[in-house]
């Protein structure tokens, strides 16, 4: 799709609120803890990345911090899960969207896709995979957390066999690689689809963004009167 205005930022007539302040704070707690977890986790995953532990004050500190960050991530992601789950249930149009995913990956290809609500099938994939992977990472992580297991054994007599720990280590590493790949997809999509990051910084998106990418959601927001109309542009 070619468009004459493609290289200019068009004037915004309508802004649509997308995320409340608390949702954004919640999201960025998840984002920061995820990034720190990825850095400290990768440091222990491959020897060539061990020097990343210097960011945390050395290997002992990285080893100590990682599980606590994991607890923080799991708890804060649970907040996001509660907030967003109702908008992420699969629906019939998701199948159409996925069958035409090549259009979704082309600028302007949205014209050939069904109108989507707050989240498209790709975003729902990110949501559900992160929810599942973070749960797997939490459970497998506890099984290889030396100190945590010590606390658990002292508190509730919970013990993990070494064979279970080996499975947990392998599962934890596999799930971590997968969650980082989904993270890359998530971050790249936000960057590629211009105007998206506004949703998590300012809390609102331009009306044009809503029209182009989430038309059904925009229609609903307009119907509900939940749009802002800056008097002279933006």
């Amino acid at each position: 799709m070619t468009d004459q205005t493609v290289n200019q930022t068009p004037e915004v007539h309508v802004r649509v609120p997308r995320y409340s302040g608390s949702a954004r704070i919640n999201h960025w707690i998840v984002a920061i803890s995820f990034s720190l977890l990825a850095l400290s986790g990768l440091a222990l995953f491959h020897p060539s990345l061990f020097s990343l532990t210097a960011l945390f004050g050395g290997g002992q500190m990285a080893r100590w911090l990682h599980p606590w960050l994991g607890i923080l991530l799991a708890m804060s992601f649970f907040g996001l899960f509660i907030r967003f789950v109702s908008q992420n249930f699969p629906e019939r149009t998701d199948i159409v969207w996925l069958s035409r995913i090549r259009y979704a990956l082309t600028p302007g290809g949205e014209e050939y896709l069904p109108e989507v609500g707050k989240y498209n099938a790709g975003q729902k994939f990110v949501f559900w995979s992160q929810a599942f992977l973070i749960l797997v990472l939490l459970l497998s992580g506890i099984c290889i957390w030396e100190r945590g297991l010590h606390y658990l054994e002292a508190a509730v007599g919970f013990r993990v066999s070494i064979e279970t720990m080996r499975w947990a280590a392998l599962i934890h590493a596999t799930a971590a690689v997968m969650t980082i790949v989904v993270f890359v997809i998530h971050v790249y999509s936000a960057f590629w689809v211009r105007g998206t990051i506004d949703a998590m910084t300012r809390g609102s998106v331009s009306g044009g963004w809503g029209w182009r990418h989430h038309r059904r959601w925009l229609r609903r927001k307009v119907r509900e009167g939940d749009v802002e109309r800056p008097s002279n542009g933006d």
């Binding site: 290997g59 100590w64 029209w211």
Partner: protein, 312 residues
């Protein structure tokens, strides 16, 4: 009797081996050493052990460790398991031999086996926290240890223990400091029955052969040497009177090897994992280069405005 190692010269001696003799170093590489040390081994003859625990006391003494006073759990094992302080522990098993219907008291001195292929070292993520010398000694270097406990997952013998005091892993060092100045390990020195002997690996194998012949002559026709090939042999070996079933000796593994799970995790897995992540980043970059950014157009903004106006 195996000729005892003579008492040391009291003058200051230079260590006979050091970092220049490393053949493996965890999460890092080492240059090929210029010399090959003679492989050493400790031979534990289970049939000669009287369970006196002199080896345990000597280990605590030499390594300047103190075990806290334990509790009687209805077993002679004391402490009941290895700890960060007790690097060796006698494990007592009362076994009824089904062939003779007699009780046999099996006493196995447990501790690090110093595998030729150490699973702990394979799993360790901290550069230089676990090292292996060309004489076969596998040692933990505490200043490099981060206390993650990956060595516990890697070990086929369930040996390393993490200290809750300094958060580093502990296990038998084969008294590398003593061996470096020509001495045998403290446990061997203290053993009153020569159930523990120390020398070169070849000497120990030859000595074991003689012991096994003796045991066979006494009716233990399954007597044999425990030097498990699954980890390419060990530098702590056992003479077992029932070498066909090592598991009767307090669950000594019949065929120890580095778990395939650990191999997958810390072997090919670590390269595959980074590769997959790198691939996703490259795919993103290629997509951006071929497709360019997905920008909202003027028409989109106008459509949105019209929609909003229609409603109001």
């Amino acid at each position: 009797m195996f000729p005892p190692i003579p008492n040391p010269d009291v003058s200051v001696q230079k260590p006979g081996f050091g970092t220049q003799d490393l053949v493996r170093r965890s999460a890092s590489t080492v240059p090929v050493p210029t010399r090959q040390l003679t492989p050493v081994a400790k031979l534990i003859d289970v049939s000669k052990c009287i369970g006196c625990k002199a080896c345990q006391a000597a280990c605590l003494e030499w390594n300047d460790l103190r075990e806290k006073v334990g509790e009687n759990r209805g077993s002679y094992d004391n402490p009941e398991d290895l700890t960060p302080d007790s690097l060796t522990v006698m494990r007592f098993t009362e076994w009824i031999n089904p062939e003779t219907d007699t009780l046999e008291w099996l006493i196995r001195k447990d501790g690090c086996m110093h595998c030729a292929e150490p699973g702990c070292l394979e799993a360790c993520p901290a550069p230089g926290a676990i090292v292996q010398y060309s004489n076969g000694i596998v040692d933990f270097i505490h200043e490099n240890c981060i206390g993650c406990g990956y060595c516990i997952k890697g070990c086929p013998f369930n040996i390393p223990r993490i200290s809750r005091v300094d958060n580093t892993a502990y296990k038998c060092t084969l008294c590398s400091d003593r061996v470096a100045v020509g001495q045998g390990p403290a446990c061997q020195k203290a053993c009153p029955t020569q159930a523990i002997v120390f020398g070169t690996k070849d000497e120990m194998k030859a000595w074991a052969d003689a012991r096994i012949k003796d045991l066979k002559a006494r009716g233990f026709d399954k007597a044999g040497l425990y030097d498990p090939p699954g980890v390419s042999g060990t530098h702590v070996m056992y003479v077992l009177h029932h070498a066909d079933k090592p598991h009767i000796y307090a669950s000594l593994p019949d065929n120890p090897r580095i778990s395939p799970l650990v191999k997958a995790w810390k072997g090919a897995g670590k390269y595959a994992g980074l590769g997959v992540i790198a691939l996703s980043v490259v795919a993103g970059a290629l997509h951006y280069l071929t497709q360019g950014p997905n920008r909202v157009t003027k028409k989109d903004e106008e459509e949105a405005e019209q929609l909003a106006e229609k409603q109001s």
